[in-house]
């Protein structure tokens, strides 16, 4: 089957097997390997990308189902070498350890903040409840998203605990 779509602002497409999953298309055909696979059964969220403005788990979508769609992966987030505020937040607020869940977490957070630019802590938790992390214990992930949300509203992020106590 033939598909045509936009990925990170670039027009891509071509012939492919009808049963190809979007995540495989992104990783293998486009060589955008920042989108990870942790389960392939819609459970871990490591494969989350933004499709037409909404976060989706790309292992649950057939590539043909993304025909005509506008997709953003983790590689499309930074602009002109400038980290996106969510990326900055995960780095600054230590929202990652091994980093394997991180691209999916970041894309889920970007999706959340696009819908709601001032989420409460509960709304943040709800926004990433489909994403698993085995390393961090999640607390710093919430802080990373709070940092990003403040930045995106043009506010100064609250200082980190270590900045207060240091």
């Amino acid at each position: 089957m033939k598909i045509a779509l936009t990925v990170n602002g670039r027009k891509v497409g071509g012939e492919l097997e009808p049963r190809t999953l979007l995540v495989h298309y992104i990783r293998e055909n486009l060589n955008l390997t920042g989108t990870h696979i942790g389960c392939e059964t819609s459970y871990c969220g490591a494969c989350t990308v933004i499709m037409d403005g909404r976060p989706v788990k790309s292992c649950t979508v057939l590539a043909v189902g993304a025909d005509g769609a506008d997709i953003m992966t983790i590689e499309g987030l930074a602009r002109d070498g400038q980290l996106h505020p969510v990326q900055e937040g995960f780095w600054e607020r230590h929202g990652l350890q091994c980093g394997y869940c991180t691209p999916g977490m970041i894309m889920a957070a970007v999706g959340l903040l696009e819908q709601n630019n001032n989420p409460s802590e509960d709304e943040i938790r709800h926004g990433i409840e489909g994403n698993l992390c085995r390393c961090t214990g999640y607390h710093n992930i919430v802080k990373a998203i709070e940092y990003a949300s403040a930045k995106m509203r043009g506010e100064q992020p609250a200082p980190a605990e270590w900045e207060v106590t240091a």
Binding site: T33, C39, T41, F90, C98, G99, Y100, L132, C135, G137
Partner: protein, 735 residues
Amino acid sequence: MTTRLDGPEKVTGAALFPADVVRPDFLHAQIVFTDQPHARLVDLDVEPARAVPGVVEILTAADIPVNEYGLVFRDQPVLIGPGNELTAVAENISRWEADQLCVVIAENIEAARAGAAAIKVEWEELPILGDIDTSLQSTVMLHPENGLDTNAYHHLRIRKGDIDAGWSEADVVIEGTYEVPYQEHAFLQPEAAISYIDEEGRVTVEIAGQWTVEDQEQIAHALDLPTEAVRVKYPAIGGAFGGREDMSMQIVLAAAARKLAARGIRRPIRCQWSREESIVGHHKRHRGRIKARLGARRDGKIVAVEADCYLDAGGYNYTSNKVLGNLHLCVGGPYEIPNARIDSYAVYTNAVPGGAFRGFGAPQGAMVAETQMNKLALALDMDPIELRLLNSLRDGSMGITQAEMPLGVSLPFVIDAAANAASEEFQVGELRPVATLPSEESAIRRGRGFACGYKNVGFSFGFPERCEAAVELFGDDEVERAILYHGAAEVGQGSHTALRQMAAMAIGIDYERVETVYSDTATSGDSGSASASRLTWMSGNSILGAVEEATKKWNDGERPARGEFRFVPPPTQTLDPVTGAGQPNFAYGYVAEVVDLSVDIETGHIRVDRVICANDVGRVINRTLVEGQVEGAIVQAHGYAITEDLQVKDARITNPRLSAYLIPGIDDIPAEIRTILLEHPDPRGPWGVRGMAEMPLVPYAAAVVAALHDATGVWFHQLPLTPSRVLAGLTANPL
């Protein structure tokens, strides 16, 4: 605050994990598991697979020159099948459902899978020894090559003081039998690797592991090659937690690259496991059963400890004998115990092998020791904190193995710190709303529990311990920049950042001026593993030594000045086979925790409202990295204690999926984690550093059990505390 070195590439997707290298000339490998917990191979016909279009090569046991491996001793065939008969272990018997049978290499993964499906294999089924009891009662020996007439192949003893005198002195005796469960690592990145012959002719494996040199040596042994002919390189590693300490696909992928090269095919090979293959295909935290007795005088002084510990080692040893040793040390608790009798056994079965997992036997031990102590406090009507402080190990104390504790025993300090924080800052009952529980307050009971623990830092029981570093200093008059070469694995804990910080501290230059070259046997020495809470401790010492060497040369005028150093800590001992006497360790870490929880007595759901963790880390090198280790360890411990329930039936894992094996998600975790870092220097640690990354996992389950008892009046002796188990326990013991 130094942010993570690997932060930018990990937030942009640029970091390359082993599955992220995509090259058009790749061949794809599918590893075929035997799918037989216990069976003898009668016939293997791979010819039909060769006929599948796209299949390039098939690797079988005959392709492995020395068909055996194992981290501590070599009791496992690399591939099951007729081999070269150079091994003691019988090569044609599958003792585990995920023993590997062969590897199909093909142009694409579909062809590799089709090839795997076409393989014809005939098995003679042997009796399945599915659990400890069956195995202990069976006359079938899983490893007859060891010459024993029992599957309980490793037995450790402690005979300390006079146990009968101890019991006669005891006013109170606490008894209990505990069932501790498996735990799956569930690192988010399933096993994956690539292999190829590098530009210098070395067979090379790029994989996520924990110890490059160990991987290299195991490959070299099985392939009958000098170690220099093998190269192991770690790209980004997607979590490990002990689960990558043993071989998964290292050896077979190296063998496959060599076999293809012998045919003149020089194409890299790629292999990736699905989540299911990952969960079935690597070892677990051991399940086990421990029967324990604890005796104390009316004043609270411990006078006797007895325990019989059994761990299910599974089909192969992996690190079971070492994990057993740690359980053995921990099952009495970090206390002064004058009289003890402890017998600990590792038992071969046909279930999944037990092996390394953060805590390495200490969590199982602490579950028993601390629950016993909490029951004792209740029986004596004594404050559990006071009871601990009365019996706590201190500097100068004799440990359970009749050797003096390494100096810097800070258990009383962590106990105090956790207890003070709990009583000063938080009253039981002032809690945040519990969103996930039903709103009828009447069904909710609240409770608080305490537990503490200790765990060794570094390799134990005489296992050779060392760590190498090399440092180069550049400049004219002053050192302008430096390069650190180190094998340390960055598994997410932040080692690559912390090591660079320590190099900068040792040299006395800015962090930015230190370059680092890591985790490649071609450039770095033997770091030892990223395990046993040892890496910062050992690496810091190796870096201090290397910088000292380099500085000497610098002062002699050498430019650049290169220093190499191999740090060797004080030797440890294997325990005496009869009395268990000996010095097993050179350093320990200490931790204490308070857990506040709510339980719904109608549904059995537990919600942990707050955790206080006091961990003595000796010296903080990087606060956020250390706190990240504490939080991550507690959430893993939470899974161990409450949510993670690996199902094994007839020696087969029946729920190898993240949808059925539930690691904590963000809705499950403790609502609040309060981390207290103490800095009582370890006299042997670099800058006073202590190992710390396992400790917070150690006492958590026992603290949860105590809090659940506080809430409901019922003691639980089995984990995980799933709603159905809690409900069953409450029903059997009505309030």
